[in-house]
């Protein structure tokens, strides 16, 4: 029974981590390797606002989300836009930005294990002899809310449809008058906010540590590849598959194979179906 509940929690958290990354890659074909560092920055900035400036928790959260949206937009506007198109340089540049932010945080005082964010709700409840604390239930709720919200936004708002159009075919979107660069800036900002939201929801479970930046990046990449680069539904489904696979291996084979599972999932998917579950790249390329 606990496998079901903890599997669900693990999957929702993986989905939260991956959503921002998929959004950015889907819209502008830009693998944003700075995703993990945005995640950690939001946690750290919220902590600073909360403890140093004494802002109330919701206000601190809001301010940090706005800040991270600006940071996301700025990285695209001033840095990534100049190297669009060169695949390797994009990966390295975004990874370098992520590295700079993470190590800058480490120098700025994010050392050791002393920082954490308060939990939304205290206490825990027993469901069918499995004790689950409120915050984890909230994670599931907020995760579902976020995924639903994103789906609504993308399918039912003008801006969202423009983003989706850009994802399918950039040139066609250009002909319809959608300015691809402005859209990409917006998608980076939105992706950063998604990362921020994931951080605010998941950080209270543990503490704010720089290493979680790398961990989040690897998990986000794993989920996006298995789900098919660029497809949101694929990413959510893949998050569930990997989430449950991890919990199952922890339950039966022992926890230390947990990370191996995520890495194996990537390699096996790529070899068997390179485009992932819902990806479209491969079919197009195969047709001669």
């Amino acid at each position: 029974m606990e496998i079901l509940i903890y599997g669900l929690i693990n999957s929702v958290s993986l989905a939260l981590m991956a959503l921002g990354f998929t959004l950015v890659y889907g819209v502008s074909r830009l693998p944003n390797f700075a995703h993990g560092s945005l995640y950690v920055t939001v946690g750290f900035v919220t902590w600073l606002l909360l403890n140093r400036l004494g802002l109330p928790y919701p206000v601190a959260m809001l301010v940090s989300l706005v800040l991270i949206a600006l940071v996301g937009a700025a990285t695209y506007q001033f840095i990534l836009v100049r190297i669009r198109g060169m695949a390797i340089s994009e990966i390295i540049a975004s990874y370098a930005i992520g590295l700079a932010i993470l190590e800058g945080l480490r120098w700025g005082g994010l050392k050791g294990t002393t920082l954490t964010l308060p939990v939304f709700a205290q206490g825990s409840v027993d469901i069918l002899d499995v004790t689950v604390d409120f915050h984890r239930l909230l994670v599931i709720l907020l995760g579902a809310l976020l995924v639903g919200g994103l789906w609504m936004f993308v399918n039912h708002t003008k801006l969202g449809l423009a983003l989706k159009g850009m994802a399918q075919d950039e040139r066609a979107a250009l002909t319809l008058g959608i300015d691809s660069d402005r859209m990409a800036v917006f998608s980076m900002a939105l992706g950063a906010v998604m990362a921020g939201l994931a951080a605010l929801v998941l950080m209270p479970l543990g503490n704010i540590v720089v290493e979680s930046g790398y961990h989040v990046l690897i998990m986000a990449v794993a989920v996006c590849i298995v789900g098919g680069l660029g497809s949101w539904t694929g990413a959510v489904l893949a998050a569930f598959i990997i989430g449950f696979a991890q919990i199952l291996t922890t339950a039966w084979m022992g926890p230390h194979f947990q990370v191996v599972v995520a890495l194996l999932a990537i390699i096996v998917t790529l070899i068997s179906r390179p485009s992932g579950l819902f990806g479209r790249q491969k079919e197009l390329e195969e047709r001669v």
Binding site: G112, G206, N207, V209, Y214, H215, P255
Partner: protein, 430 residues
């Protein structure tokens, strides 16, 4: 054309002379009375790194204030050169740390290596390098692998310059953790234990030894739960322990995520006493704030005493001096051992009366110094500090328990300042 060719061919040459110039800048700082340079390759972004660095700097400032070290007849001050080896960071090759050690030896002309690379993997890798440079090295923080002492014992002449002043896993398990577990078992008649370790060689080995020994002593021990570095969800293991009615959860992890484990333990009200054989997250005074008090009743083992406020030996003004200089109580277990290492060096140099490595090795072997955490004596074969339970006999470890925001020393009995308490929800469950 000529001008251009000259100007342009400058480009590849620029790289070469950039290389050539750099060392010149670094090595020009001349000093007055030739100071003794202490090279400290530490991972300064991590607990075991910066607490060792602070311990060393505290000791050096005290010694220099008291006039420095008497080498023969000349008084020479200590000077500290710290290099960030980043060896505790995942994804960083150990060659980075070894490069740092070599920078200390070759460029900064370090006379001694104190603190040593922190991770056991890097410490082992650095042994041949330091031995080749014939410099005395005292390992004080981070690595606990008994392999360090065994390697010194296997080829004494090559590694005779390498010492370790902090505890090592074998004694820590047999000499401190097992007796403490037995004491708890007798006091509250507990006899069922779950073990959670990090997926690192020394953790798995330590966990395995404890499981075997405790099983022989009649305890029922659940199979080992091994967690990869960076795991963030322990709920499954904890619920397994709860359903198997384990009364003690032994934790051997030196990664920051252990505070998540304790938060989940508190939220899930697991009726078992968390016993941290190695739990770096819980050693710090800031652990209480990080877990918002949920980490209460957690026991943590600090390899050498003096880190937690205790009356181990008369030399307890270390805690006050540390607090005065750095504004916080000593954190990791690397602080007091590094502090002692500098004093041991001073004592050895003064006894040997010279800086020659071989003479110093003899002096180090004959060290018998009353230190912060008991008597510092080195085992002639493994160059390991001789541990014991009694501060008069040897170096004493400490196990403290978090009680109401304070770290209370509960083991060994000779220096205990408080009793071991059980979490409230455990009493009714028993």
């Amino acid at each position: 054309m000529k001008k251009l060719l000259a100007r342009l061919s400058l480009l590849p040459v620029l790289a070469a002379c950039l290389l050539w110039l750099a060392p010149m800048l670094a090595a020009t700082s001349a000093q007055a009375a030739q100071p003794i340079v202490l090279g400290c390759p530490l991972s300064t972004a991590f607990l075991y790194g910066w607490d060792a660095e602070r311990g060393i700097k505290l000791a050096v400032s005290e010694i220099n204030a008291a006039g420095g070290v008497k080498v023969g007849n000349e008084k020479r001050p200590f000077s500290v050169e710290v290099i960030d080896t980043r060896d505790l960071e995942p994804g960083v090759p150990v060659s980075e740390a070894l490069l740092g050690v070599e920078k200390l030896l070759l460029e900064k002309k370090a006379d001694f290596i104190v603190g040593g690379p922190v991770r056991s993997e890097a410490a082992l890798a650095a042994m041949p390098l330091i031995a080749k440079a014939k410099k005395i090295s005292i390992l004080t923080s981070g690595s606990l692998t008994p392999k360090y002492g065994d390697t010194v014992a296997q080829n004494p002449d090559q590694f005779k310059y390498l010492f370790r002043i902090s505890g090592e896993a074998k004694w820590m398990v047999s000499g401190e953790i097992i007796p403490c577990l037995e004491q708890i078992g007798k006091k509250y008649n507990l006899d069922k234990m779950a073990i959670m370790v990090q997926d690192v060689a020394h953790a798995r080995a330590g966990g395995g030894i404890i499981a075997k020994v405790m099983a022989d002593k009649g305890w029922k021990v659940l199979p080992l739960e091994v967690y990869p570095t960076g795991a963030t969800d322990f709920s499954l293991g904890l619920s397994k322990a709860k359903s198997a009615k384990a009364q003690v959860i032994l934790i051997w992890m030196d990664m920051p995520e252990t505070s998540i484990l304790l938060k989940q333990w508190h939220d899930m009200k697991i009726p078992a006493l968390p016993f941290g054989s190695i739990i770096s997250a819980a050693e710090q005074p800031s652990f209480w704030a990080a877990t918002e008090g949920k980490g209460e009743f957690c026991l943590a083992n600090v390899v050498n005493a003096g880190n937690a406020p205790s009356q181990a030996t008369p030399w307890t003004m270390f805690v006050e001096a540390y607090q005065k200089m750095w504004g916080v109580e000593p954190e990791g277990y690397g602080a007091s051992s590094s502090y002692m290492a500098v004093y041991t060096l001073k004592d050895a140099i003064e006894r040997a009366g010279s800086m020659d490595s071989d003479k110093l090795v003899e002096a180090m072997k004959a060290t018998d110094l009353m230190g912060v955490y008991g008597r510092v004596k080195f085992d002639p074969k493994t160059h390991q500090v001789i541990p014991s339970l009694d501060p008069q006999e040897g170096a004493v470890g400490t196990i403290f328990q978090w009680q109401a925001g304070k770290r209370v020393v509960v083991f060994p009995p000779k220096i205990a300042t408080g009793e071991i308490l059980l979490p409230p929800w455990m009493k009714d469950a028993k």
